[in-house]
């Protein structure tokens, strides 16, 4: 099966929603696809127990109710060939052709190994937030939130809203760094308001700076964590640990298509021009995949790409000014939530680094590159295809599994057997 659209948007978070709305608004026939059952991405993820914020509902409805937008839920891209994408949904596989392709593939959480991090009960910070929103039982559970960045506050607020007892938020950045971050927030009044609202919702929850989770303990389930902070080491009994060290751009699809990438710290982001065009003329990239920037960047970049892709470039300068302001916030954030080097050294020789294949750090010693690591240990060869350990090892400054090849996700045999890409 094959279908062709003027504009194909991959990823239905704020960036993809804005792109789809802008392109459809110019008369284009648009398809918007996402691997999740609902639109909204991670930041606007559907919450089974609570209504979404007004702006999320407005953006989602604008796209889903638009007559020229085809919404494809639970649809994952597994391969690309000759200007088409091979997509799989629960029922079928099909080729999607496009005049322009807009990548709004978002970000993944940066999850770094430490002793005990594979225990059930330990999740990412965004991970636990996503689980809570999916209806994971939280009532009365004791939760510790740790890692780095403003996402910790959002996670703690979601956990509390779902009835969890949040025992504390442990930010690795120093008090001085967090204070400087807060002191500079006046340039982004909406962000300052958002921070104030979160603090109100988290009244009574302790926010500890310079504090790092160094170990999790338990047999088959998390029982206790060990923290190292300004007042030394302490153990805290808890049911869940939500720990994440920020976000990493998800560039896999751009990489598969051959778009030029550039470093963002130890990771990569897609290179785009001021119109969000990648190094491939009809492929655009927007939002987190172009560098971690948050929802405001995502919305404005999506709109820029949706307009450029349909030739509507009249209002671009105003949008580009908004984009620069939003990107400056991202830089402000990066500058003040720099990772403490000790976090990259928490894994011990027997700590599993590749969680899929149970590969301990020790097994990787002496291996020169990601390929040797794969061949010798299977590191990065499990079902996550190196998504977790690859980012972790890159952040730790060690050889990471690389060399991406299709399928982009584990796919059904029937999908792989789908006939060749059509000649449109």
């Amino acid at each position: 099966m094959a279908e062709r659209y003027d504009v194909l948007v991959v990823g239905a978070g704020p960036a993809g929603l804005a792109a789809a709305a802008a392109a459809a608004g110019q008369g284009a026939r648009v398809a918007l696809l996402d691997a999740q059952p609902r639109a909204g991405g991670q930041v606007w993820r559907h919450d089974v127990g609570h209504r979404a914020p007004f702006s999320a509902r407005r953006h989602i409805a604008a796209v889903q109710e638009h007559p020229r937008v085809t919404w494809m839920a639970q649809t994952q891209v597994v391969a690309a060939e000759h200007g088409s994408l091979l997509a799989e949904d629960p029922r079928r596989a099909h080729w999607l052709g496009y005049g322009a392709l807009i990548l709004a593939t978002g970000a993944r959480e940066l999850l770094l190994p430490f002793p005990g991090w594979t225990l059930p009960g330990v999740a990412g910070a965004g991970g636990l937030q996503a689980l809570a929103k999916q209806g994971w039982p939280m009532r009365g559970r004791r939760v510790v939130v740790a890692g780095s960045g403003p996402l910790l506050l959002a996670t703690a607020a979601t956990a509390r809203r779902h009835g969890a007892q949040v025992l504390g938020i442990h930010e690795q950045a120093t008090f001085a760094a967090v204070s400087r971050f807060a002191g500079g927030l006046w340039r982004w009044p909406a962000k300052a308001l958002q921070a104030a609202a979160l603090r109100t919702r988290l009244a009574g929850v302790r926010y500890q700076c310079g504090s790092v989770v160094v170990a999790a303990h338990g047999d088959d389930q998390l029982r206790e964590i060990e923290l190292d902070g300004p007042r030394g080491r302490q153990r805290v009994a808890c049911d869940y640990l939500a720990v994440g060290y920020g976000l990493v751009p998800d560039v896999r699809m751009a990489q598969m298509l051959g778009c030029r990438l550039e470093p963002e710290g130890a990771h990569a982001r897609v290179v785009v021009d001021t119109e969000q065009r990648s190094s491939i003329g009809n492929v655009f990239a927007v939002g987190e995949t172009c560098g971690i920037g948050g929802r405001d960047c995502a919305l404005v970049e999506g709109e820029i790409a949706g307009r450029t892709a349909t030739g509507a470039t009249a209002d671009l300068p105003a949008l580009q000014r908004r984009r620069r302001h939003a990107r400056a916030f991202a830089a402000h954030l990066r500058e003040h939530f720099v990772l403490d080097p000790r976090i990259r050294a928490l894994a011990e020789p027997d700590t599993l680094v590749c969680r899929c294949e149970d590969v301990p750090l020790r097994a990787l010693e002496g291996l020169q590159d990601g390929r040797s690591a794969k061949l010798a240990t299977r590191c990065g060869m499990g079902p996550c295809q190196g998504r977790i350990c690859g980012s972790a090892l890159a952040e730790m400054g060690r050889p990471a599994p690389n060399g991406l090849r299709p399928p982009l996700f584990p796919a059904r045999l029937a999908t792989l057997a789908e006939a060749e890409a059509p000649a449109w």
Partner: protein
């Protein structure tokens, strides 16, 4: 989230909240998730379809990420599948 529905989890019919993910339903039923190749117990980690640690069999289709599927009445879920 007050309405309930029924799924067959590891061969037993259990009542779970409507609208939740299969991962959440398994947690509501107090069941464990799978094990790693080395036999270590695991559970959902990333919550968003990246880590693949919450894989289960749903209606006889193996290797599905339970955090990305919403429960349906009568669904059959096996955590060791």
């Amino acid at each position: 989230m007050s309405a309930r529905m029924h799924i067959t989890l590891n061969g037993n019919v259990v009542e779970v909240p409507e609208g939740v993910s299969v991962a959440a339903a398994i947690a509501h039923a107090g069941q464990a998730f799978g094990r790693s190749p080395g036999g270590r117990r695991r559970g959902p980690f990333c919550g968003m379809g990246v880590c693949f640690e919450c894989r289960v069999s749903i209606d006889d289709i193996a290797q599905q990420r339970s955090c990305m599927v919403t429960v349906r009445e009568g669904m059959r879920v096996d955590t060791d599948g």
